[in-house]
């Protein structure tokens, strides 16, 4: 099933784009639809800890889950999580299966062409993390080492574009698989968030990883269908307010163990 998966995805996405291009302009305003239904449908991937995951009683939890719950509570709406995988987050809002995306969606110019983004509600620091005992200080030290990433993530894209650095990249299905690769010794370096890098040492105390080279800080924003101006404005106002009152920072700290950058601490 793994063979040609990339190719299948790209053809699937291409096929979808063709259909999406043929879409007619939106009829009713999405904000009115949400208000009328008294329910907001939020697309969240529940398999990307610690943003979206299940707790031990299989209830959704995580920083994105709590942001979604806070939004629904503030607006007095019922919340429905639309199960999604990383790759179907955007098609979900484009085709009206979900109203908005709150799912570690980082703002990129490519994505901004097909959906609208709110202001950032969180950031995600990504690093290259390696085995603590490895002497890695800068990019040249990574030559001939394999770096594990989750396939299709922004980390994957960034590292893949660094052709001059001669990196060997191993792409895994999701963070859990990447962590296992690191725990079991398949890779000595990973490109991921600090939370995930720390998780490796917890799973196997004999192989403690630490952040070695900062990769990038991604801005995470809520995504929605293009052209829904009123909903976008209302979401922006909500984000601004909850950055100011420190609620978003508190949620982030609870799950990621670190605070948001100073300008977002309220």
């Amino acid at each position: 099933m793994m063979i040609g998966n990339r190719k299948i995805w790209s053809s699937a996405v291409a096929a979808c784009c063709l259909v999406v291009l043929a879409d007619r302009p939106a009829r009713a305003d999405l904000l009115d639809d949400i208000t009328q239904a008294k329910k907001i449908r939020i697309s969240t991937d529940l398999a990307i800890p610690p943003s979206g995951m299940m707790d031990s009683s299989m209830k959704p939890t995580g920083s994105d889950v709590e942001v979604a719950q806070l939004l629904a509570k503030d607006w007095g709406l019922e919340l429905e999580f639309i199960q999604t995988t990383g790759a179907t987050r955007i098609p979900n809002v484009q085709t009206g299966k979900a109203d908005i995306i709150i799912s570690t969606l980082s703002v990129t110019p490519e994505r901004a062409k097909v959906i609208d983004f709110t202001k950032k509600y969180a950031t995600l620091q990504s690093d290259i993390g390696c085995l603590k005992s490895l002497n890695v200080k800068d990019w040249p030290d990574l030559k001939d080492k394999t770096v594990g990433v989750s396939r299709g993530t922004t980390q994957d894209t960034m590292l893949s574009n660094m052709k001059d650095k001669e990196l060997k990249i191993a792409r895994y299905d999701d963070d859990a698989t990447g962590v296992t690769a690191a725990v079991s010794g398949q890779v000595d370096c990973v490109g991921s968030s600090a939370t995930i890098i720390n998780q490796i040492g917890i799973k196997n105390p004999a192989r403690v990883f630490e952040s070695k080279i900062p990769l990038a800080s991604f801005e995470l924003a809520i995504g929605l269908k293009k052209g829904e101006t009123r909903l976008l404005e209302k979401l922006n106002a909500w984000v601004t307010e909850n950055v100011k009152n420190g609620k978003l920072n508190a949620i982030y700290k609870k799950f990621h163990g670190v605070e948001l950058p100073p300008d977002m601490r309220g």
């Binding site: 699937a12 979808c16 529940l46 299989m58 484009q94 999701d174 998780q199």
Partner: protein, 223 residues
């Protein structure tokens, strides 16, 4: 994040397994019915029917199931047709299975030895009678192993339905794994459950073959 496998996780996996069974049943029943029609259309005396059904088979067989699912769910929604995940997955799986079963069964029907067709015709049986009384019973025996083999494949292929938001066995395993970070145990359980679904089917197929084989043991041209 972290923690140990508990009853809730197993329950969640069990729920996913039910969806896998459900999707497989829908795919096999829906696909079986449509596939039978396709098989007959493929050997129709009318050229236009033959061509149309052949085009359908080629088109679907040349498209990955993942793409069909994607088009069924997101594609139709983009042109204004609301599809629930269940409807989209059922329709896509039915279309997909029908194309393969149709072709498997056409081959089985056509591999019933020519003398059988001629003998049936010689007995002045109508086309329908020929099919039901002479050809299909023999074709069924030929068709059993490849049909069951394909069914087993479909049970495993239902995991692709996770792209339309289905939390079936594989996806539920992924979700559990991403809260526990214990892939070995989680995927071992999933493998065991898939095996428990597929193996009885293979056993049933062997039994069926033996039973159907009895009546025609002296049919040398089939040996």
């Amino acid at each position: 994040m972290g923690g140990h496998l508990n009853a809730n996780h197993l329950l969640f996996l069990g729920h996913g397994a039910l969806w896998t069974v459900g999707l497989s049943l829908i795919a096999l029943i829906g696909g079986g019915i449509v596939g039978f029609v396709i098989a007959l259309a493929r050997i129709s005396p009318l050229k236009s029917v033959r061509l149309l059904s052949a085009a359908y088979v080629q088109l679907v067989q040349g498209t990955p199931l993942l793409v069909i699912l994607f088009l069924g769910y997101f594609g139709l929604a983009a042109i204004g047709l609301k599809m629930s995940p269940l409807a989209a997955a059922s329709a896509s799986l039915t279309l997909y299975v029908a194309a393969y079963l149709g072709e498997i069964w056409r081959g089985s029907i056509q591999s019933v030895p020519k003398p059988q067709w001629e003998a049936a015709e010689g007995l002045a049986l109508s086309r329908t009678q020929r099919m039901i009384k002479v050809i299909l019973p023999q074709a069924m025996r030929i068709a059993t192993p490849p049909t069951v083999g394909f069914m087993v494949q479909i049970i495993k292929n239902t995991s692709l339905a996770s792209v339309v938001g289905f939390v079936e066995l594989m996806r539920s395993g992924q979700i559990v794994n991403n809260s526990l970070f214990e892939p070995f145990i989680v995927y071992a359980i999933i493998a065991a459950v898939y095996f428990a679904m597929c193996y009885p089917l293979s056993l049933f197929s062997q039994k069926l073959e033996r039973r159907m084989g009895r009546g025609s043991a002296n049919n040398l041209s089939l040996a």
